[in-house]
Symmetry: C2
Amino acid sequence: MVTISDIAKIAGVAKSTVSRYLNGGSISETTKKKIENVIAATGYSPNKFAQSLKAKRTNIIGTIVPRLDSFATSQTLIGIDDHLRELDCQMVISNSSQDLKREIENIYSLAKQKVAGIILLATEITTEHLEAFRTVQLPVMLVGQQHDQFHSVIHNDYDAAYELGKYILANGHRKIAYLGVTEKDVAVGIKRKEGFRKAVEEVPGSKVRYFETSFKIEHSIQKVPEILEEFNPTIIVCATDNIALGALKAAHMNRLRVPDDLSITGFGGYEITEITHPSITTAKFYYREAGNLAARNMVKLVNEEEINQITFSRYKILERESVDKLK
Amino acid sequence: MVTISDIAKIAGVAKSTVSRYLNGGSISETTKKKIENVIAATGYSPNKFAQSLKAKRTNIIGTIVPRLDSFATSQTLIGIDDHLRELDCQMVISNSSQDLKREIENIYSLAKQKVAGIILLATEITTEHLEAFRTVQLPVMLVGQQHDQFHSVIHNDYDAAYELGKYILANGHRKIAYLGVTEKDVAVGIKRKEGFRKAVEEVPGSKVRYFETSFKIEHSIQKVPEILEEFNPTIIVCATDNIALGALKAAHMNRLRVPDDLSITGFGGYEITEITHPSITTAKFYYREAGNLAARNMVKLVNEEEINQITFSRYKILERESVDKLK
DNA sequence: CTGAAAGCGCTTACAG
DNA sequence: CTGAAAGCGCTTACAG
């Protein structure tokens, strides 16, 4: 392995001069050329460990994800990774497997690895999170959830839900089931529901009932038949695409035609929702873009530049086949 | 930050003694206790950079993936990560975005990061791969593809395809389209086709035609109508679940009932194939287990233990709803 | 079993 | 603009 000493020796300069060259210090044109040539010839690249040990900083950004096997996670990671790669930063992924305790551990563990900052694909911010972030003293960027004490990139859940609500109302639906999730998840459990609620409140005479399930497809498959029996709506507005996928499956299993007998909508814009039969009308979020924004903001944070506390990522209502036009 | 010197001072011993304690050298019971207490009290954890700089080794395993947004990748990563975490090894993920050039770069870039070994979720092994691995001189573990020069964990593509072939034949299908992929991908493009071919060769009087598409769902959606027109089979055996998903979509778009008018099978066992209507009969691979095995073997390789060159991961034929029983 | 010393490959004041 | 020196936090022979 060729080291900075080798380069210095071959180029006939001091190590410190080579280091200055590497880190953009002031250098005469001639020595610059000499060093450049030697580095090119030897294929030298600095030892990251020595750099980090001495300089006490790294260009590693830690990303904590609640789970690895989700469309949203994958896309967001791609967005983060692509941007970081351009800046020669490295991304380290830490998976919590939907375990909040493990998520907290991951914060401390990334701090031990001396990452420059932490991007958290957030679900729920507990007091343990607050404490962990306070003690590690690292720049933090939330994705998907907002919080007073942190910077974040969020999907515009409220507006998306409002617009989706207006869309189904405009299509004549008046007996509506909303199938949501726990309010512990503010973005998915509260914001989407509230945006939707606003839309229905603007249209008198609509009958709406709110139900709750988990994020798991199988739970949605179980829950939907109960809703049908209890309430028999013309449409089920699902808080995520996975829940909508479960609803679609349940409809098929009950020999209901979608959308003729039952309409269904989702949130997310997962690739698969276009492939199902029928394709699912949904509020698409641009996860990859959100990841990009998060990476961009994180780097600014690390460099102590100013950024807005909240950055909104785009959304778009995808009008597809799963909503019946009642008028 | 508390360092090894601090621990040594507080415990009243030399740094080297603390280091020996940390690395399992011989230590008297009394000094061991002293050091233990001080470490517990201070919450000391060794600086990884200093360790790696000095010891010239790390416990980081690099994993190169062809893409982040695939069921197979996610599951395999989870399997690798879970096992590595138990051993206090760290996983670094390097995404190639289905770009072979970037995959090669990732090999060199992981080597620069001084990873202890590289796990490659392989698609195609080119001469550039061979060269890269030769120059970085690191233990290598392939997942999903086999190669003379490397250790690997592979899915039993051949046997799975053979068994799936026998299954559809047993159900009476005799006019069969096989929709495969490029032979550059040995596991998916060749092994699956050959296993299937063996099954049909054992049953005289079956008419089989072989077609080719890409890994992309949309290409499959385009391709399937052509196959239907040209050949009109009773079943399309697809080389991956994504291709099968496209075939299912194409069937729906052409108002064909599955499986009554057309049967479809896949490979992979992606979660979504159970949710579609009808659910898809497929050869399930245990990606997570494969990842586990790969991690286990990788660690052995790093520790210079003996391992088999090829480790087979399990498979299972999932008999579901997409294959018509013709007899 | 234990300690003093050297050194891994860098960066960073400091002096010139 | 350039160089000599100190030191980051560890590990590893070596000597006792």
